[in-house]
């Protein structure tokens, strides 16, 4: 059997090196890919849609016009799908930022309220018996 009392410097160095490693989050990479794909589809769809119009007008052949129509409809579909993808993933990023900001603001507000309560307490010591609270002088009759 190996005895387990260990000079662990190598292991500690290993743990430290691993802690310093930057490990990319695969989910984040996927979101960026979808965002890019959405943008690309949206742009390509708009271009195809716009291209279909002059193509259809340049000919009297109803078959060629049908092709142009299909191209235009395909372009519009691609643009709609692309826009949906783009909105979905860009909104996620924005909402995540907004949520983080809200959380930070709420924390700050909580801290400020806590500070003001702490500061107010010593300024209002319990009033001696028979005297008005908050330092308000009793008005002469």
């Amino acid at each position: 059997m190996t005895s387990t009392p260990v000079p662990a410097s190598r292991a500690d160095r290993f743990v430290r090196e691993l802690a310093e490693l930057k490990i990319p989050d695969p989910a984040a990479a996927r979101a960026a890919l979808w965002l890019r794909l959405g943008g690309l589809l949206m742009t390509a769809g708009l271009v195809l849609g716009a291209l279909a119009f002059p193509l259809a007008h340049a000919t009297d052949d109803s078959l060629a016009q049908g092709d142009a129509l299909s191209l235009g409809l395909g372009g519009i579909t691609a643009a709609v799908v692309g826009a949906a993808l783009f909105l979905r993933y860009s909104l996620t990023g924005f909402l995540r930022f907004w949520l983080a900001r809200q959380s930070y603001d709420l924390d700050r507000l909580g801290e400020r309220l806590g500070d003001s309560t702490d500061a107010a307490e010593p300024a209002n010591p319990p009033a001696p018996e028979g005297e008005p609270r908050n330092g308000a002088a009793s008005s002469p009759r």
Binding site: T4, V6, P7, A8, S9, A11, F14, V15, L18
Partner: protein, 241 residues
């Protein structure tokens, strides 16, 4: 133990598949610094796949690979190797047409910043037989010497986690015993060692912990004692006790 005293290598609920066929069904295994863990099991049980997952060569379909408490699932194997994970594969993986010295010097390219002299000094200090054969082609060495060369090359990377696949394959029992003594010595220096082995007797002499994997599942794990060796044949024959 490390400062954080957790295991250096940890597999949590690892599932892995080749071309849609699942070979590991939720494997949990820990290896601490200075510990030798023997992973035993019959042919085709998924032992080598466990090693591949641990080395980052095969990404798990589910579950997590943790090193030093950090989740490193899906990280590139080259980055793990640079951090200090070393896999010595089945069949040794030496370059047969290169000399012993050139095989060792290949490790200067591993990115851990060790010089030629340091690598040779460490290797020949630990394996004097290699010093005598430094100019000889690695393919002409005996099986045991080739395995020593593979170990020396692995140790040249200054590993923190050493993964050994079928160290005893094709070697005489005396040579196997000698190699496992070396492995025990390496572990005593604080290296976490995971050994995959089909022939259990030699590795169980030095192992602090053993696990038996059958058809992709850990069937038993714990401190190896005499009873495990007696029961192993039942696991291998598919009728666990």
């Amino acid at each position: 133990m490390t400062e954080n005293s957790g295991p250096l290598l940890e597999l949590r609920g690892v599932r892995a598949a080749y071309h849609g066929i699942t070979v590991l069904h939720g494997v949990d295994l820990n290896v601490a610094a200075g510990q030798v863990v023997a992973l035993l099991g019959p042919n085709g049980a998924g032992k080598t796949t466990v090693l591949k997952v641990a080395a980052g060569l095969h990404p798990p379909d589910a579950g997590h690979l943790l090193m030093g408490g950090r989740d490193v699932t899906g990280i590139r194997p080259s980055r793990l190797a640079r951090a200090g994970v070393c896999l010595i594969p089945e069949g040794r993986g030496v370059f047969p047409n290169l000399s012993v010295r050139d095989n060792l010097l290949m490790m200067t390219f591993c990115g851990r910043g060790r010089g030629r002299e340091e690598i040779e000094e460490t290797a020949y200090g630990r394996f004097p037989v290699l010093a005598a054969r430094r100019g000889q082609q690695a393919g002409t060495l005996s099986g045991g010497e080739q395995q020593m060369l593979a170990l020396a090359r692995g140790l040249a990377t200054d590993p923190a986690v050493l993964l050994l696949d079928e160290l005893s394959m094709g070697l005489a029992p005396l040579v196997v015993a000698e190699l496992y003594e070396l492995v025990a010595e390496i572990a005593r220096q604080g290296v976490a060692v995971l050994v995959v082995e089909q022939f259990a007797a030699a590795v169980l002499k030095i192992a602090d912990h053993a696990a038996v994997v059958v058809r992709g599942r850990i069937q038993w794990q714990g401190h190896p004692d005499g009873s495990l060796q007696a029961e192993l044949s039942s696991y291998y024959l598919g009728s666990p006790p």
